[in-house]
């Protein structure tokens, strides 16, 4: 299923590069695109990264969260309040500004690369001095102390070469969004149907896992499997099973899993259609 997707994992340099490629694939102008339009595609690629055991880097998820929020705002019914939520708009503007910034430097990098290639024909003379001249050279002054040399050595030895493809963020995956959904659902069942986000994610040991759990929570909310309560911005998030569900029985968890599953399947189906057309 992933093979129908044109944006292959590893062929982009980061979340912004991925966004640019998705925008290009939809033949959209970067100045016209509503970022929410490419949310599904973006999430599909990020999910594939997870399946390929690439680390879903924090930044991919941060961008994913912003996209999800934009998309959620578009899907919700229009009520009498036409104003835009300031925070959401701000997140959008920030994301968009970063995307443009990245695009600028990506293009500048390509220009530098073109120039390097164009000038590659000029090879400088770099030949060792004739022996009688080499002897005249003043003795070298080493610019480091022994401790400094050790630092240089440690840095260089620890680093290793740059990988051919940029997989510098290649690390074992911590948790995919799917897995995080399980953590959230089961945590909620164990808690009897109501828990704070902090309680649900108490087992998370890394920020990436927290982000994954948050995305999972958003997805469950979108699928109407949970309700989320927050007194005010940045206040504690309290999660409850959706209205009417009885968390003490297994049915609710199974229903939630089924909803997640069909949502994932639907996303993949959509992606296939998009990629094909």
């Amino acid at each position: 299923m992933a093979s129908s997707y044109h944006v292959a994992v590893g062929s982009f340099e980061g979340p912004f590069d991925l966004l640019l490629q998705l925008i290009a694939r939809h033949k959209l102008d970067i100045y016209e695109v509503a970022l929410a339009q490419i949310t599904d595609d973006y999430l599909t690629v990020v999910a594939e990264m997870g399946q390929l055991n690439l680390e879903v880097a924090t930044d991919f998820l941060v961008v994913a969260a912003t996209l999800l929020e934009l998309k959620a705002a578009r899907l919700l019914p229009d009520e009498d309040e036409p104003e835009l939520d300031e925070l959401t708009l701000e997140a959008r503007d920030l994301l968009y500004a970063r995307l443009l910034d990245y695009r600028t430097f990506k293009q500048a990098g390509q220009a530098l690369g073109d120039r390097l290639r164009a000038l590659a024909g000029y090879v400088p003379r770099a030949v060792p001095l004739e022996p009688h001249l080499a002897r005249l050279r003043p003795p070298v002054k080493l610019p480091v102390t022994p401790a400094g040399l050790a630092e240089v050595a440690a840095r260089v030895l620890a680093a290793g070469p740059e990988p051919g493809v940029d997989l510098s963020h290649l690390q074992p995956v911590w948790m995919t969004v799917e897995e995080a959904a399980v953590v959230v659902v089961e945590g909620l069942v164990r808690a009897g149907g109501r828990a704070t986000f902090d309680q649900l994610t108490a087992g998370c040991r890394h920020r990436v896992e927290l982000v994954a759990c948050f995305l999972a929570l958003l997805e469950l909310y979108r699928l109407a499997q949970v309700d989320v309560e927050q007194r005010e911005n940045f206040d504690t998030l309290t999660v409850t099973t959706a209205e009417g569900a009885d968390p003490t029985r297994g049915d609710w968890a199974q229903a939630a899993f089924a909803a997640l599953q069909s949502s994932t399947d639907a996303d993949r189906g959509r992606s296939r259609v998009t990629a094909g057309g």
Binding site: E79, Y102, K106, S168
Partner: protein
């Protein structure tokens, strides 16, 4: 800039000989002022001679050219002979740079001095590998430390960068396209962000009296 073919008058044979001999041993572009000092000749005169020499090589169709880059002068092969030269230069000078490295190089070039973290923020991903590669190739270098907590290393481009790019100095870098001058695109929110937020803010529907079993979880 380049003198016309007339080579004789301003190119003193002794000066030319000395310049050519020194240019044969330089390991990086050498400033006209350095040459002037060593040769005990006015810098103007040296510069005029170098320009005449550059023109002479071109006119004579030599296999080498004299270029003024990175604040100095150095001999290079003529690109017209590149096909043959490649056979003798075992390793291309810097091989091909990855896209990541090129992006990073562009960021460092235009934003220097800049920290690793700042580069990563612009790229959206970690830049360590790319910076390491550029350091190893001598295209960027540490140029200091930022006066902020942790004193992160600041990076800048090197003379080799200018040389590879055929630039006399950083001022010759092509200007960046100004991306911020364009207006932001609309992000049409059919549902309204406010509405979305309000639903989030609404008190939890039902089930609010969840059992206190929550304590068992942690």
């Amino acid at each position: 800039m380049a003198e016309p073919a007339g080579r004789g008058p301003e190119l003193d044979p002794q000066l030319r000989k000395a310049l050519e001999a020194i240019l044969l041993v330089v390991e990086e572009p050498v400033a006209a002022s350095t040459l002037a000092q060593v040769l005990e000749v006015a810098t103007d005169e040296v510069e005029a001679a170098l320009r005449a020499l550059r023109a002479e090589y071109v006119d004579d169709g030599r296999g080498f050219v004299l270029r003024e880059v990175a604040g100095g002068w150095r001999l290079y092969t003529d690109p017209g002979a590149a096909a043959y030269v490649e056979r003798f230069v075992v390793h291309g000078r810097s091989g091909r740079l990855s896209q990541a490295a090129l992006e990073t190089l562009a960021i460092v070039a235009y934003k220097q001095p800049i920290t690793r973290t700042q580069v990563s923020e612009i790229r959206g991903v970690d830049a360590d590998g790319a910076i390491r590669s550029l350091l190893a190739r001598g295209l960027v270098e540490e140029v200091g430390r930022e006066a902020s907590p942790g004193q992160p290393v600041l990076y800048g481009t090197t003379g080799l960068f200018l040389e590879s790019m055929g630039l006399a100095d950083l001022g010759q870098l092509a200007p960046l396209p100004d991306s911020t001058s364009r207006p932001l695109p609309p992000e049409p929110p059919p549902g309204g962000y406010k509405a979305a937020r309000r639903r989030l803010d609404a008190p939890a529907p039902g089930g609010g009296d969840g059992p206190d079993g929550a304590d068992d979880v942690t």
